[in-house]
């Protein structure tokens, strides 16, 4: 069989693949996956029973949730993607990676990033943007390491010995390019100190950029690389040809082009201009076919091998992974409809949705990869097929419990929030809608524990496998001819896409164009609409003390439980107050609209309660709201507020366009102290005003009380449509 009909070189090169880098990434995947799942189980426990943070600031829900999401996406899935990319690309391109040194820098750099995340996030060092919480020095490190990875990868493409690049590689290229763009744009910020920065964007603009990033982290971190892995490992494992080359072309380009538009479906019913919201909806719906294109190409590749699925655990994982991918990509467009979203947004339904994706599609694909690659790379056999099968069933039951309980809890709570009777809320008491779903939180916890137990079985199985590996391992050598320069492009029988597959540089440029179109059309107009609002608004910027309080709000991750976006829905306005307006968040660098209401919306909480209520509530929420699952924040009553950076903070805000005067900045500290003393005096006769006014709680109260409707608000015509 001649594999290279186009080339007739005289001489074969001999080369070896760098599998040690693959092994490193595999071990990192296994370790970080455990951390991500464990933290997830801790969070699930805390929601079922709030006392499980033991009043320790660094493991409260708001600080731990970002660690969980970052670990699951960037540490667990991230390391797995790199393992798969390094393993499959070398083989698909018939070359060793361009530089072992760059590969090593990539590996150790990435682990350094993860460790920094694991240290800073529990300390409350956060940028306050979902899935992009890491502060600016780590962001810069991420960008650097990613660029090193990209350089190594594109240089590897240059030295390849396979003229055409296979579909898996297209997906890897799309991943490398788009993630770089998303990360860099969304992380733009001005530092205030080593551990603190303010997002360059604010309000609606920040929201749009953030969800353009957030949604496409799903697309280009959790989808395209995994489709690439699928296109390599399924045919490899099952030893069957890929079902349809044409389908792979169409769904690749459709996916890359359409995905980038869908971000605004995270911002339905917000103050984002409605045309952008509608774009988010319709492009989400149009994503169904491109997503399913990947699924059916995978499933049809398994055609004729269904008997093996019954016997082999790896194939079980692959089939379940694809099925859950199909399910999640059907559910996504459904959730994007405005009418469905009105019910589902801010509820656990979304949490269930993302877990069917990550635990099912990504997790199961990673397990298949690990069970396949570990024995292959360590040149041995899997320790136990039986254990792997048990892992599969335990994890599957876990996922089912997880998804079902979140459907039930999301729909229940959503309906309770919206329920009206005679123009009155049926469940006006928010806590009632929380206590109702606590039993389902226990079901979810069981689901998570099962998934984690399955994972432990896998660790045991793989450790045993590696232990059984032969001692002195030699890397096999491979041979292939070097690519010859093609002088004349006279291969007329070749289709244009075949031609493109020989020209990775051009393919890369086309990918950039494809993602740029949607990005530019959606984001540029929002920049201009924002300017218009800034001129019209009569909103006063936060006082220095309120700004300090806001930074505490961000530090504690209150946005993981509280939204600040009253949607234009009757029940919502009755519950929280006047609907949110564009200029409410115009000075919010970063915006804090949130994505999940474990607690009530706070956009209108200012003036709702006296200061002393917040004081007692933050110390012990249950003293004011029996049945609440909000953590205690006793340290806010003990820690002194750090006034040090305050002037610098106002200056940075000034640079960002917030209308502070120079006096505001110069007097920031005195102003803040004066306001704090005022609040302290009026708190309660039994509390020492001087002493308490130095504490962080006072700044937080000042911030919470500032969250209210703009007085004399003029509707901003044209800006909301």
């Amino acid at each position: 069989m001649n594999n290279h009909p186009q080339t007739h070189p005289p001489k074969n090169d001999t080369f070896q693949y760098d599998d040690s880098i693959v092994k490193k990434f595999i071990i990192a995947t296994i370790g970080w996956g455990f951390v991500a799942l464990l933290v997830g189980v801790v969070l699930a426990t805390q929601l079922a029973n709030w006392t499980f943070n033991f009043d320790l600031s660094w493991i409260t829900f708001g600080r731990l949730r970002p660690l969980h999401t970052n670990a699951a996406i960037f540490a667990f899935a991230g390391n797995a993607i790199f393992a798969g990319i390094y393993h499959s690309s070398q083989r698909l391109l018939k070359t060793r990676m361009f530089s072992d040194v760059l590969s090593k820098i990539h590996f150790w750099g990435w682990q350094l990033i993860i460790v920094s995340a694991a240290i800073t996030l529990p300390l409350g060092i956060t940028a306050g943007k979902e899935y992009a919480e890491l502060e600016w020095p780590i962001d810069i490190l991420i960008a650097l390491i990613w660029v090193i990875f990209a350089i190594n990868y594109f240089l590897t493409l240059k030295v390849r010995r396979e003229r055409h690049i296979y579909v898996a590689i297209w997906f890897y290229i799309a991943t490398i390019i788009t993630v770089a763009i998303l990360h860099i744009v969304n992380s733009l910020a001005i530092p205030v100190g080593l551990f603190k920065s303010y997002s360059l964007f604010s309000g609606v603009q920040d929201a749009l950029v953030q969800w353009w990033y957030g949604h496409n982290a799903v697309a280009f971190f959790l989808t395209t690389p995994f489709l690439g892995l699928m296109y390599y490992y399924i045919p490899k494992i099952i030893k069957r040809p890929v079902y349809s080359y044409r389908l792979s072309i169409i769904h690749f380009w459709a996916l890359v082009f359409i995905y980038i538009w869908a971000g605004p479906h995270h911002l339905l019913y917000s103050v984002l201009p409605e045309w952008a919201q509608t774009m988010g909806v319709v492009f989400s719906v149009m994503l169904l076919a491109p997503s399913w294109g990947g699924m059916i190409n995978g499933l049809l590749t398994l055609r004729g091998s269904w008997d093996r699925v019954r016997k082999e655990p790896i194939l079980k994982f692959l089939v379940a992974s694809l099925t859950l991918y199909g399910m999640a990509t059907f559910e996504g467009p459904l959730l994007a409809f405005k009418s469905v979203n009105a019910l589902a947004h801010f509820t656990d339904w979304i949490i269930g949705h993302v877990h069917s994706g990550v635990l099912g599609w990504n997790g199961f694909m990673i397990f298949a990869l690990l069970y396949y690659c570990v024995p292959k790379l360590w040149k041995t056999k899997l320790y136990s097929d039986k254990l792997a099968t048990t892992h599969f069933w335990v994890a599957t039951v876990g996922i089912i419990l997880y998804i079902m309980s979140m459907w039930a809890s999301g729909i229940t709570q959503g309906l309770m929030w919206l329920g009206l009777e005679d123009g009155r809320l049926i469940y006006p008491d928010f806590v009632e809608t929380v206590t109702k779903i606590i039993p389902l939180y226990y079901v979810r916890l069981v689901g998570g524990l099962l998934y984690l137990s399955g994972y432990l079985l896998m660790i045991y199985n793989l450790v045993k496998t590696i232990a059984s590996a032969p001692k002195n391992q030699t890397s096999p050598s491979y041979s292939a001819p070097a690519l010859q320069k093609v002088e004349h492009d006279n291969n007329t029988s070749e289709s244009s896409h075949r031609w493109l597959e020989r020209e990775p540089d051009i393919l890369t440029i086309l990918v950039i164009v494809a993602v740029a179109v949607g990005s530019i059309i959606e984001i540029i107009p929002s920049l201009t609409s924002h300017k218009y609002v800034a001129l019209e608004t009569n909103k006063k910027p936060y006082s220095a003390l309120e700004l300090a309080g806001r930074d505490i709000y961000i530090r504690e991750g209150c946005y993981t439980c509280h939204s600040q976006m009253v949607r234009p829905i009757k029940a919502e306005v009755l519950r929280y107050g006047a609907k949110s307006e564009l200029d409410d968040s115009i000075y919010d660098h970063p915006f804090q609209w949130g994505s999940r209401r474990i607690g009530p919306d706070l956009a209108r909480v200012g003036g709702k309660y006296p200061d002393i209520w917040h004081y007692r509530h933050m110390d012990d929420p249950r003293s004011m709201a029996p049945g609440s699952i909000m953590p205690n924040y006793p340290w806010l009553l003990e820690n002194n507020l750090d006034y040090g950076l305050l002037e610098k903070k106002l200056r940075v805000m000034q640079t960002l366009g917030v209308p502070y005067s120079d006096e505001n900045a110069e007097n920031a500290i005195e102003d803040a102290k004066a306001q704090a003393l005022e609040i302290g005096k009026n708190l309660d006769p039994s509390i020492d005003a001087k002493k308490i006014s130095k504490k962080e709680i006072i700044a937080l109260i000042a911030y919470l009380q500032s969250l209210k409707e703009q007085l004399h608000h003029e509707p901003l015509h044209g800006a909301t449509h």
Binding site: N3, P5, N12, T14, R91, L92, K94, E162, H164, Y166, Y232, P235, K239, R240, P241, V242, Y243, S244, Y245, R246, L247, S248, E274, W275, Q277, T278, V281, F283, V285, M286, A289, P290, W292, G293, I296, G304, K338, K376, K379, K381, D422, G423, R424, P428, D429, P476, Y478, S479, A480, P568, I569, K570, K579, Y609, P610, W613, R616, P626, T720, H721
Partner: protein, 201 residues
């Protein structure tokens, strides 16, 4: 996996070449990537139709919201609120006319509502914490009559830190609370807040 005999080879394991079924022989493409082959199957018809359908749907959906009057989120919201205030103005005047009424009200309901909604500020025994002691005969607002307490609860004292409860409680529930508050008068709980306001006997 088969042990390698050669020191050099094209694929990791030579058995990895794809298994081609009989009916696929004609549509195998001649590329081979690390043993992976591709078939030239056409796009599934239903899949292509689904793609077209979603595109058509996108146009209709956009048209429905943006090119017909009154379908934007803001329009629908305004409409729902107008209906609401009209209904409300009827029912509000009803409520105003009703005021305190013993119909459908009960001390038991009042007691449980008190514990869940009011105790945080007024204390478990109404001894007063953030809000004043409700067991004495001194009142900051009104004269301590049923109607006056009813009105205080209904419209609240927002500037002093008590919200208006009319959005959260039914008229009969407010009446139950009034009954409960009247029933605990003179209980003189421990740690009671000193009297505030004017004495009404």
């Amino acid at each position: 996996m088969n042990e390698k005999k050669d020191s050099t080879q094209n694929h990791e394991d030579s058995s990895s070449s794809s298994l081609i079924l009989e009916d696929e022989k004609d549509i195998v493409l001649d590329h081979d990537y690390d043993g992976i082959k591709e078939l030239d199957n056409p796009l599934p018809k239903w899949w292509v139709n689904m793609f077209y359908l979603t595109a058509v749907f996108a146009v209709i959906y956009t048209g429905y919201y943006h090119f017909r009057n009154g379908n934007l989120i803001e329009d629908r919201f305004q409409k729902s609120m107008i209906v609401e205030t009209k209904e409300n103005s009827d029912s509000l005047s009803d409520i105003a006319a009703v005021g305190f009424s013993e119909e459908n009200a009960s001390i038991d309901e009042g007691a449980s509502l008190y514990t869940s909604r009011c105790a945080a500020c007024h204390g478990q025994k109404a001894e007063g914490i953030i809000g004043p002691n409700l067991t004495d005969n001194y009142w900051l607002n009104g004269d301590g009559s049923n109607d006056s307490i009813y009105n205080t609860i209904k419209v609240g004292i927002p500037e002093k830190g008590m919200i208006a409860w009319e959005a959260l409680l039914k008229p009969s529930q407010i009446s139950s609370l009034v009954l409960y508050i009247q029933s605990i008068k003179g209980t003189a709980p421990a740690n009671g807040k000193p009297a505030q306001g004017t004495l009404f006997e």
